[in-house]
C-alpha cells in the first residue's frame, strides 16, 4: 500500500514537471513572438506585453528553483513571486490601455 502511494506521488510529480516545462516553453515562445512583433511594428504596448511574458518565464524558473533548493523556499520567496504576478498583470493592463502609437 505504501509503495502504491509512493508510485502515485512520483506520477503526480512527473505530470507537474511536464506541465511546468510546457508552460515555460510557451512563455519563452510568447516572449520571442512579442519581441519579433515589437521589432516589426515599434508599438510601445508590445514592449509591455514582452516584459510581462519575460517576467512570467522568470517566475516559473524561480518557482522551480524554490522546489529544488529548500533554502530558497522562504517567505521572501513568496513575496517575490506574488510581486511578479502583480507586475505581470500591471504590464498587461498597461499594454491594453496604452494608445496605439
Amino acid at each position: 500500500m505504501f509503495s502504491g502511494l509512493l508510485l502515485q506521488t512520483e506520477l503526480f510529480d512527473g505530470i507537474e514537471s511536464a506541465i511546468q516545462a510546457a508552460t515555460g516553453i510557451l512563455a519563452i515562445l510568447l516572449l520571442a513572438l512579442s519581441i519579433s512583433a515589437y521589432r516589426r511594428t515599434g508599438l510601445k504596448k508590445i514592449i509591455y506585453a514582452a516584459t510581462a511574458f519575460a517576467l512570467f518565464a522568470i517566475q516559473l524558473i524561480f518557482e522551480s528553483l524554490e522546489d529544488t533548493f529548500e533554502v530558497l523556499d522562504t517567505s521572501y520567496g513568496s513575496v517575490i513571486t506574488s510581486s511578479m504576478t502583480l507586475a505581470i498583470l500591471v504590464l498587461f493592463f498597461l499594454a491594453i490601455v496604452q494608445k496605439n502609437r
Binding site: L30, L33, S36, R40, L43, K45, A49, N100
Partner: protein
C-alpha cells in the same frame, strides 16, 4: 545593359518582372546551376542593378529603385498578412472607405486604422477626404498596383511573421487608437 552577359541580363529581366522572387525560383526559371545563378546575382548586386533582403529562410531579390528610398519599409509592411490584405482590397476596389476595409478584413477598426496609418507613412497609399468619409487609394496607381501585386505574390510572410502579427492585432483590438474614424 552592355556590360551584362546574356545570363545576367535574363536574370535581371526576370527580377524586374517578378520583384521579390527568391533564389530557387530564379534558378528554376533559368534552368542553370545554383552556383551560376548565385554568381550572376552577386554581380548584379555589386553593379547596383538589384537589391536583396533576407526574410526568414529566403533571400529575396528586387530591381533597384521600384519604391525609391523606402523599399525596406515597404518590404516590412508587405511581410504582414493584414497589410497585404488591405493593400489587395484597395487595389481591387480602387478607393474604399475605412468601414469597407474593416468589413472585408474582419479585424477591429482600431487595428485597421493603425495599419492604414503605416501604409500612408510608407507612401504606399493616400487618404482622400470625401465629406465625412475618408477613402484610401494607391499612392501611384499606374505603376504601384502591378509591382505591389507582384511583390505580394513573391514575398509572403512565414508562420512566425503571421503569429507575431496576430499578437499585435490582439493588443491593438483591445484598445482604441487615436485616429479611429469611419
Amino acid at each position: 545593359m552592355d556590360e551584362l552577359g546574356n545570363t545576367a541580363e535574363r536574370i535581371l529581366h526576370f527580377i524586374q518582372d517578378n520583384p521579390g522572387c527568391h533564389l530557387r525560383k530564379i534558378k528554376e526559371y533559368m534552368d542553370v546551376s545554383m552556383g551560376t545563378v548565385q554568381y550572376h546575382l552577386e554581380k548584379l548586386e555589386k553593379m547596383q542593378r538589384v537589391v536583396s533582403a533576407r526574410h526568414g529562410l529566403y533571400k529575396h531579390y528586387f530591381p533597384v529603385g521600384i519604391f525609391h528610398d523606402n523599399e525596406k519599409e515597404i518590404l516590412q509592411v508587405l511581410g504582414q498578412e493584414t497589410s497585404r490584405e488591405i493593400l489587395m482590397f484597395i487595389i481591387e476596389q480602387q478607393s474604399p472607405t475605412q468601414t469597407e476595409i474593416v468589413n472585408r478584413v474582419g479585424i477591429s477598426a482600431a487595428s485597421v486604422s493603425w495599419y492604414l496609418k503605416r501604409l500612408i507613412e510608407s507612401n504606399l497609399i493616400d487618404e482622400i477626404k470625401e465629406g465625412r468619409y475618408k477613402r484610401y487609394q494607391l499612392h501611384d496607381r499606374k505603376t504601384s498596383s502591378r509591382y505591389i501585386t507582384m511583390l505580394i505574390r513573391n514575398y509572403y510572410p512565414n508562420i512566425w511573421d503571421r503569429w507575431s502579427n496576430r499578437l499585435v492585432e490582439t493588443f491593438l483590438s483591445l484598445s482604441r487608437s487615436d485616429g479611429d474614424q469611419v
